[in-house]
């Protein structure tokens, strides 16, 4: 059964999830407008054949952020997608803190493990 503290904490988790999705959807919308204004009339991008590599301006996080600051539509969309993926990761990180406050060490360890698995994926480098 949930303690009052736990129930409160779960409400905070819910708000965090909602805010993350809204923020990322907003950024993706902005990117979509920029992209369609600039490239909307051009022939549709090729999706039929899988190219192993992204274009150079989308390949690394640094390149994406640099292009997004130049208001490149696709890069802004990519930033929105990063925010979206970061939302559940932030939820897990936040849960570590919640279980720490409760001194529930088994769950602290479990949550840290899940966080480590998520970070492994985010820093995974396909070149290796």
């Amino acid at each position: 059964m949930d303690t009052p503290y736990e129930a409160n904490f779960e409400q905070l988790l819910a708000k965090l999830l909602r805010a993350g999705v809204l923020l990322s959807a907003g950024v993706v919308c902005l990117g979509a407008i920029l992209y369609l204004i600039n490239a909307g009339g051009a022939d549709a991008r090729e999706h039929k054949v899988f190219k192993k590599e992204q274009p150079a301006d989308l390949r690394t996080v640094e390149a994406v952020v640099t292009s997004a600051l130049r208001l490149d539509g696709l890069a802004v969309i990519e930033v929105g997608l990063f925010l979206l993926v970061a939302t559940p990761v932030a939820r897990v990180a936040f849960s570590v803190y919640g279980f720490l406050r409760e001194r529930d060490w088994v769950y602290v360890a479990m949550t840290l493990f899940v966080l480590a698995v998520l970070l492994y994926s985010l820093f995974f480098d396909a070149a290796h």
Binding site: M1, A7, L17, V49, L74, L84, V92, L118, S121
Partner: protein, 278 residues
């Protein structure tokens, strides 16, 4: 076709997929990948990348509402995420090893299984007998609101549920879907968790499970922003609409029709995969 036309068509298709996915409880991901691959001729790697992104959006959006209503068991979710995230990493690596045709065949089989699971009897008999020692140690037992006040439940067969979650996570990472049907199967059938708690806790876990393969998908170039954008926005809006309609309707007929569509699409995926047309 121009970029604008392509974007609008994909957004419209994704909206319908998200709407039907929410209404039937199967999720948008199982429809969006075949839609992109079979109708729009998108390479299956881009299709599963765009689908995975939309899965994170709908799951996180819906999870917020369910957690607030008190159905979600956050402890069960957290514990089982250990299994689903590990499985997802394995599945995402597997997606890089097998061919697009192979992914299509597995996808078709999973569609057939999902259609079967969506038609099965949903309320497992209540758990009886001695409490499960692992569930007690991890404090997994909980309660959820009903019209007659809070209803408590016990959790059973934790190791079996955990093993099934490894498998559900692997499918999620391999196919870019939430694999909600398999997560619910592990919870309500194996662990005897009430159906409403199983579905909402499954939803809660889907975002984290999908995030575990997202990094690998980004690194491999599966996620193309021009395609992921209309898919994510369309599925998100569609599923919000679907959830709104769901509170007013019990779409039994729709579920059956949708299950039949899923069977047809699944067989198409298997056929195209085996003949190398994807």
């Amino acid at each position: 076709m121009t970029n604008l036309e392509f974007t609008l068509l994909v957004a419209l298709g994704s909206l319908v997929a998200g709407f039907l996915g929410a209404l039937t409880g199967l999720g948008g991901g199982v429809v969006i990948v075949p839609l992109l691959a079979l109708v729009f001729g998108v390479d299956i790697h881009y299709a599963i990348g765009a689908s995975l992104v939309s899965v994170i959006a709908t799951s996180s959006g819906a999870a917020a509402a369910y957690v607030r209503e008190g159905f979600t068991n956050v402890r069960i979710g957290m514990f089982l995420e250990v299994a689903t995230t590990l499985g997802a990493i394995g599945g995402a690596h597997l997606a890089g090893l097998i061919s697009g045709s192979g992914i299509a065949v597995v996808f078709g089989v999973v569609l057939l299984a999902s259609a079967y699971l969506s038609g099965r009897h949903q309320d497992a008999p209540p758990a009886e007998g001695e409490p499960d020692p692992i569930a007690q140690r991890l404090r997994l037992d909980g309660e959820y609101p009903t019209p007659d006040g809070p209803h408590s439940y016990r959790v059973r067969r934790v190791p079996l549920g955990f093993a099934m979650m490894l498998f559900a996570g692997m499918l999620s990472g391999l196919l870019g879907i939430g694999s909600g049907a398999f997560k619910v199967l592990a919870m309500d059938h194996a662990m005897r968790i009430p159906f409403k708690v199983s579905t909402t806790t499954s939803n809660f876990m889907i975002g984290v499970t999908a995030a575990a393969s997202a990094g690998i998908y980004f690194a491999r170039g599966y996620i193309d922003p021009a395609l992921a954008m209309p898919v994510m926005l369309g599925v998100l809006v569609g599923s919000l609409l679907g959830a709104r309609v769901l509170t007013h309707a019990q779409p039994r007929v729709l579920r059956i029709v949708f299950a039949l569509v899923i069977v047809a699409v699944g067989m198409q995926m298997i056929y195209k995969g085996l003949t190398g047309n994807l």
